[in-house]
Amino acid sequence: MGRILIVDDTMFMRTLLKNILFSGGHDIVGEAADGAEALARYQELKPDLVTMDVVMPKVNGIEALKAIKAADPAAKVIMCTAVGQEQMVKLAVKSGARGYIVKPFQAPKVLEEVKSVLSA
C-alpha cells in the first residue's frame, strides 16, 4: 500500500480518486489543485506515488511532472487525463510518467495500475 498525492484541478475528480485509492488501502497524504502546488506538496510530503491531471491552470501536469522528476528522478507519477488527450501519452512517458489513466476510469483498473507502478 502506498502514500499517495492526488493532483487535479477539480475537487470532484480529487474526491473520486481519493475514494478509489482509499478503498484499495492506500493512504492519501495530500492533494493539490495545480502543477505549482503539486511540486511544493511533493517536496513537503515525499509520497510514494503521485496521480497527476494533465490539463490544469497555472502549471500543467506535464510541466509539473518534469519539475518533480527533476527534483526526484525516482518519483513515481501516473498521469490522468480526459478522453481525447491520449496524444499526451508519448510526451508524458518521455517526461518520466510511469503510467497513464484516461478519464472516465473504473476503480478496479485504477487500483491495478497504481499497484503495478508502486511495485515496479
Binding site: 470532484f12 474526491t15 473520486l16 475514494n19 478509489i20 478503498s23 478522453v83 481525447g84 491520449e86 496524444q87 501519452v89 508519448k90 512517458v93 503510467g99 497513464y100 489513466i101 484516461v102 478519464k103 472516465p104 476510469f105 473504473q106 476503480a107 478496479p108 483498473k109 485504477v110 491495478e112 495500475e113
Partner: protein, 268 residues
C-alpha cells in the same frame, strides 16, 4: 475438405459429429448433413468454445457449433472474410484502453473488419476480436497521433466483462467515414438524447467509476432519498439498470430482545 470433430446443437441437444471446412463453404455431417457457403452467412456470434452462425437469405437458419479454439478460429476467419457483411481492410487496435487505463503495449494489427448483424469483428493473422453491437457505448470519429502524424481514426467504446474498453480503427478517410456512419446507424438505439443536469451527470460518473450508494451519498453530500430520486431518473432514461436493491431495516421486538439479552450475557 478436411474433417474435424465438433458438436452441433440439434433438436435442443448437443450431438457429436464432424465438420468439413473448405475454401468457400463448410459442411456439417450427420445428423445435419448440410453444406453452407460462407457468403450465405449473415451473422456470427461467439460464446465460450461455441459459435452461433446465422445463414440463409432471410437469416433464418441458425447453427450452434462447439469445438476446440483452433477449429473455431479457422472457421471464424473464413466466415468473417467471406460472409455477407460490410467489410473493409483496416488497421485496428483492440483493446487500447481498458477501464480507463491506457494499455502501453497495445499495437496496431493489420487485418480486416466485418460489421455483421449483431457484432463488429476484427480479424488479423493473430487475433479475432468481436464487439457485440449491443455492448457498444460510443462511436467517435477522432484523430490520434500515429508515427508522429495526426491521423483520423474511429474510436469505439464498448463493454467487455463489465469493463469499459476502447478500440481504434484506422483506414483511409473515405472508408473511415463510411464505417463511422454505418456504426453510428447500427448503434442509434444507445444514443443519449435527454437533457441531464450536472448532479445527475456526476452521479452517473461515480457509478461508472464503481462507487456504491453510500460512497456516492458521502461524496456528493446527498441524502438517501435524493440519491434514490437521481437513480430513478437514470433508470427512467435508460442510462442505468437496477443491480440490487439495498435494504434498510429496524429491529422487531424479537430483535430488540435478542440485543437486550446479548448485552446481559455478552457472546464472545
Amino acid at each position: 475438405m478436411k474433417s474435424v470433430p465438433i458438436k452441433v446443437e440439434h433438436e435442443g441437444k448437443w450431438v457429436p459429429t464432424t465438420m468439413g471446412i473448405g475454401e468457400d463453404r463448410f459442411r456439417i455431417d450427420a445428423p445435419l448433413n448440410t453444406e453452407i457457403f460462407y457468403k450465405s452467412v449473415v451473422d456470427l456470434d461467439e460464446k465460450k468454445n461455441q459459435v452461433v452462425i446465422t445463414a440463409g437469405a432471410e437469416g433464418k437458419t441458425v447453427y450452434r457449433v462447439a469445438s476446440v479454439e483452433k477449429v473455431l478460429s479457422v472457421l471464424k476467419k473464413f466466415i468473417i472474410m467471406q460472409a455477407s457483411a460490410y467489410r473493409l481492410n483496416a488497421y485496428f487496435m483492440s483493446p487500447a484502453v481498458r477501464g480507463g487505463v491506457l494499455i502501453q503495449d497495445a499495437r496496431w494489427d493489420k487485418g480486416a473488419i466485418a460489421v455483421m448483424k449483431t457484432g463488429i469483428w476484427f480479424v488479423s493473422q493473430e487475433k479475432q476480436v468481436c464487439i457485440p453491437i449491443g455492448d457498444v457505448a460510443g462511436i467517435e470519429l477522432t484523430s490520434r497521433e500515429i508515427q508522429e502524424k495526426d491521423l483520423n481514426v474511429v474510436k469505439i467504446d464498448h463493454l467487455s466483462e463489465n469493463e469499459v474498453v476502447t478500440s481504434f480503427v484506422l483506414c483511409p478517410m473515405t472508408t473511415l467515414q463510411v464505417l463511422y456512419n454505418f456504426l453510428k446507424e447500427a448503434t442509434r438505439d444507445s444514443e443519449v438524447n435527454e437533457e441531464i443536469d450536472p448532479l445527475t451527470g456526476q452521479v452517473a460518473m461515480l457509478v461508472y467509476s464503481g462507487m456504491d450508494s453510500s460512497a456516492i451519498e458521502n461524496m456528493l453530500k446527498l441524502s438517501h432519498k435524493d440519491l434514490d430520486a437521481i437513480y430513478d431518473r437514470l433508470l427512467d432514461i435508460g442510462l442505468a439498470e437496477v443491480l440490487y436493491v439495498r435494504k434498510e431495516v429496524q429491529l422487531t421486538p424479537k430483535g430488540v430482545r435478542y440485543i437486550s439479552d446479548a448485552v446481559k450475557s455478552p457472546i464472545n
